[in-house]
């Protein structure tokens, strides 16, 4: 019973996350141009914003388990962040790092350190109440085509600012919901303004621990089938680049578009679930800023 409730709550949160992040597995970009414009000295102020809008995205199919994948899809845009006395919540449309609840505990002129109390991202998981060794080949294939689940982690984040134009951010989180493993990212971003167009570019390196890769892309001996042979990946690094632009249509409406390319590591592409070596993602949106 409690297992069912647990699953239900995961499904609800997952649905929210999917709406927020738009695509499973690869969450999206952030409004980096907007981040630089305000300057470093204002980053500690209380406040926030909320946006609603419409968005369309296109992405290639990366994983065989993405059974409802469509190349181009419209979606609702829900985005926002709020900070009060250091405590913050972030649900940023196009963010690559999911939904964050955290606490900003130390700042200097150029540095900012945050505790991430809850970092929520989409992930994969197998049904908990099924023993795969009791299933036949077809049953195990269906079992391995598991549904998406949540990665719920905690950790820290350090951000270094260079004026209004450059930012470096390192983050490390570890899943405490069901021990999926460690994820760490280092990103370097820049933004610039061309008339009222706000451009941003972002370069990323992402580390996934062996535990995380095994949870997401591995197949154990007892689960293995002809279609999904045993696979035991190690830790990996993936690399990404992103380019985006935002334009104010009026005092309340913003147009955004971005493109991101992530190159996956062999540890991921060698998985029987994987279908391609890269993730190519495009998004365009119009949102109302409250």
């Amino acid at each position: 019973m409690s297992n069912n409730v647990n699953k239900m709550s995961v499904r609800i949160i997952r649905a929210i996350l999917l709406t927020l992040m738009m695509i499973p597995g690869i969450t999206a970009a952030s409004d980096i141009a907007s981040s630089v414009g305000g300057g470093v000295e204002n980053r500690l102020a209380d406040g926030g914003y909320f946006e609603l809008g419409a968005s369309v995205y296109g992405v290639n199919k990366v994983d065989i388990r993405q059974t409802s994948h469509q190349a181009v899809q419209p979606t609702l845009l829900i985005s926002g962040m709020y900070q009060y006395k250091g405590l913050f919540v972030e649900m940023i449309h196009q963010s690559q790092d999911g939904v964050n609840l955290g606490f900003n505990f130390w700042n200097s002129e150029n540095w900012s350190l945050d505790l991430l109390l809850a970092n929520l991202q989409t992930s994969w998981s197998r049904p908990e109440d099924i023993d795969p060794s009791m299933l036949d080949e077809a049953g195990r294939n269906a079992y391995l085509m598991s549904e998406e689940s949540l990665y719920i982690g905690a950790g820290f984040r350090a951000t270094r600012y260079w004026g209004d134009r450059y930012v470096f951010q390192y983050r490390l989180v570890s899943d405490y919901f069901d021990g999926q493993g460690i994820m760490s990212t280092a990103r370097l971003g820049t933004s610039w303004q061309v008339r009222n167009w706000n451009f941003h570019a972002l370069a990323s390196i992402e580390y996934s621990s062996a535990t995380l890769n095994r949870h997401r892309f591995g197949v154990s001996d007892e689960e293995a089938t002809e279609q999904f042979p045993e696979y035991r990946p190690g830790s990996s690094f993936s690399y990404g680049m992103e380019l985006g632009v935002a334009y104010p249509l009026s005092e309340s409406f913003v147009f955004r578009t971005m493109y991101r390319l992530n190159v996956l590591s062999n540890e991921v592409t060698d998985s029987p679930f994987n279908q391609t070596g890269y993730v190519s993602f495009f998004n365009a949106s119009i949102s109302y800023v409250f």
């Binding site: 952030s30 981040s35 204002n42 913050f88 008339r195």
Partner: protein
């Protein structure tokens, strides 16, 4: 006598109003009147078209009010519009002046505004990769 004084006072008060209403016939406009940038404090860019109707005679100028900088000058009705590439991070006043006179014929403002009005929103955005 009291009534006369009241009428006199009203007449005196009304005279500048009359002058302003004559100035309004100049129909000094800016299109668009607002410049919208994304984040508070950013420089806003906007091509603004100024239009006016000046009398047949006299020398007139379009000026940036605060800087007293003349953008363009003309005689009579020779010029009735001017395209200006506005760049600024605050609301800016423009005046139409009759050369040699202190009082502007007409004034208007190009309002600079932003979508994200709190600097915080942009500053924290870096957290949201």
């Amino acid at each position: 006598m009291n009534k006369f004084n009241q009428w006199l006072a009203l007449a005196l008060l009304a005279s500048p109003m009359t002058a302003w209403s004559q100035d309004h016939s100049i129909a000094f406009t800016a299109t668009p009147e607002r410049c919208i940038a994304l984040h508070k404090g950013q420089t806003c860019y906007q091509d603004v078209l100024f239009r006016w109707q000046t009398p047949e005679s006299g020398q007139y100028c379009l000026v940036l009010t605060q800087e007293h900088r003349k953008l363009t000058c003309w005689n009579g009705k020779a010029v009735q519009q001017y395209q200006y590439s506005f760049e600024g991070n605050k609301t800016t006043s423009f005046s139409l002046i009759h050369d040699g006179k202190v009082q502007p014929l007409a004034q208007l403002k190009v309002v600079v505004t932003w979508v994200y009005k709190a600097p915080k929103q942009s500053g924290s955005g870096w957290r949201l990769f």
